[in-house]
Symmetry: C2
Subunit: 311 residues, 2 copies
């Protein structure tokens, strides 16, 4: 039995994961991210202990603990090198948790952990497997020969920060034209907002008013209902997503690419046109093609992946 | 002792390569690429036999033969699946050479072979090593943990065909906006030509007239001599090259990237501004940085790499 922890900007989530990669108990607590890292770490330890009690287990039943954390992570030393939205810099997260819980802790980048979880459960042993998460940003995890690829310095796998439009939109990372600034949910919301302003009275405007906000679903829902302006937003967004995926395919020719994040719940409405674009545009005309799927573990991927990476 | 063969669109080159990766004899013959694949293969075999004689050796001194070939290659079966500029489709190149030379032959994609050669000789055992060749196209080879990365279907590593400008220039591969259409020598020549037309009387025009053609050196030479229009061409070209390299860094965080191809002979005049752009724009602010170098084996990389990949 393992514990997997998913350290998010909003919630700290933990689960007890068995050898088969199933979550047998889970719990969350708010991150309250403006606190010190010490307070957050104490809460993670408390969450883990409570979870063990709740499951009727004792800490001796737990072999190892894995934790996934956003930002730049040094997995070898278990250090959160830099985590922008938790204000952590050089925090020995694994070491602190080990001290509090008396248990070996493995720290991993959260996108890598989620990709590894998805790979272990639904990857079918693919020789090369890449998960792309369309969320607030565009996250990614690369699994080659069953191992997380991190680059020589541990900071690799930031596919969302490849350039999609040279000289294009400024990204939060400081560079211009990152894929993330066109294909994230944040980008889709901005694209939807611009289209609403240009098309007063569109169904998108109506849906946004009803729901009190513009979300990643606004354009998709309106497009499904036949709104032309929304269809244009979705088509353009899908092209941005697909164009980046073709790049990933041409570079890696991975056996499998899995799309995660909220938008992936659109299912075939997103996947089919992406697949068509990839098939029409990828460089490989003569060999078997990358399988494209939507992720299936959703929020549990991070917990399961962190636990299995620790294993 | 090994033989390395570099099958090019213009020349067939072969070399005898010792265990240290040094070429001890080499020879070339024109490809005459409009011939049948059978005739080309016969000439490769003849080239290898002649080379062995010339070096005062016999075929029994040769352990294996490696051949690098452009296009889509199936290394497992030794088949040239599709080679556009040699009109080969499904040619069992390795098998045919084995039949003629009675020696084990390993077939490899030429860009992968060149990268592997550069890696073996000047890679300093980098855990992750990527060679980018700025030539007629933008070629690349990815070496991870000392092994050529090919993707699950053997067609991976086409970094030149990642999108750099979504919806941009149409590439020969059929997709829009490939890095290759902005950063290859072909692209630089087109950019230089456009600048000459827009700036009559520029030094670029004079150099092109003197030399009878516009080449990849025209803008660089004129820029070095102070021509403003040429400097603008070089700056824009360098940005295209660097923007793609930042993407490669963000995705792979490779220990080393090596730039090859004719343009790489510009040395620091190309490398320094590329390095500056990468340092200012890559996603990694807190960990050691990728080393960026120019390739050193030039035309010999393909021969050496093919031989050592066979080993």
């Amino acid at each position: 039995m393992y514990i997997g922890v998913d350290i998010g900007g909003t919630n700290l989530a933990a689960g007890i994961v068995n050898e088969a990669g199933e979550i047998i108990a889970q719990d969350t607590t708010p991150t309250l991210r403006n606190r010190s890292s010490g307070e957050i770490i104490s809460d993670i330890a408390r969450l883990c202990r409570g979870l063990v009690d709740k499951a009727g287990l004792s800490m001796s039943d737990i072999k190892k603990i894995g934790a996934g954390c956003p930002g730049t992570i040094d997995t070898e030393t278990g250090t959160a090198v830099y985590v922008n939205n938790l204000k952590m810099e050089g925090v020995p997260l694994a070491g602190e948790l080990e001290r509090l819980l008396k248990k070996e802790v493995h720290l991993e980048n959260d996108a890598n952990a989620a990709a590894y979880g998805e790979y272990c459960i639904y990857g079918d042993g693919a020789k090369s497997f890449i998960m792309i998460t369309l969320g607030t940003g565009v996250g990614s995890g690369i699994i080659l020969d069953g191992k997380i690829y991190r680059g020589f310095n541990g900071a690799g796998g930031e596919i969302g920060h490849m350039t999609l439009v040279s000289g294009g939109n400024r990204c939060t990372c400081g560079k211009d034209g990152c894929w993330e600034t066109y294909a994230s949910v944040t980008a889709l919301i901005a694209q939807t907002k611009a289209a609403i302003e240009e098309n007063p009275g569109s169904l998108m405007e109506k849906l946004a008013a009803e729901r009190g906000k513009i979300s990643g679903r606004t354009a998709f829902d309106a497009a499904r209902a036949g709104d032309e302006a929304a269809k244009a937003v979705v088509n353009q967004y899908v092209k941005y997503v697909a164009d980046g995926i073709v790049s990933v395919v041409n570079i890696f020719q991975p056996e499998k690419i899995v799309l995660g994040g909220g938008i992936s719940r659109e299912g075939d409405y997103l996947l089919k046109p992406v697949e068509e674009f990839v098939k029409a545009n990828d460089y490989n005309r003569y060999r078997p093609h990358t399988q494209l799927e939507v992720a299936r573990l959703f929020n549990e991927a991070g917990i399961i992946g962190a636990a299995l990476a620790a294993r």
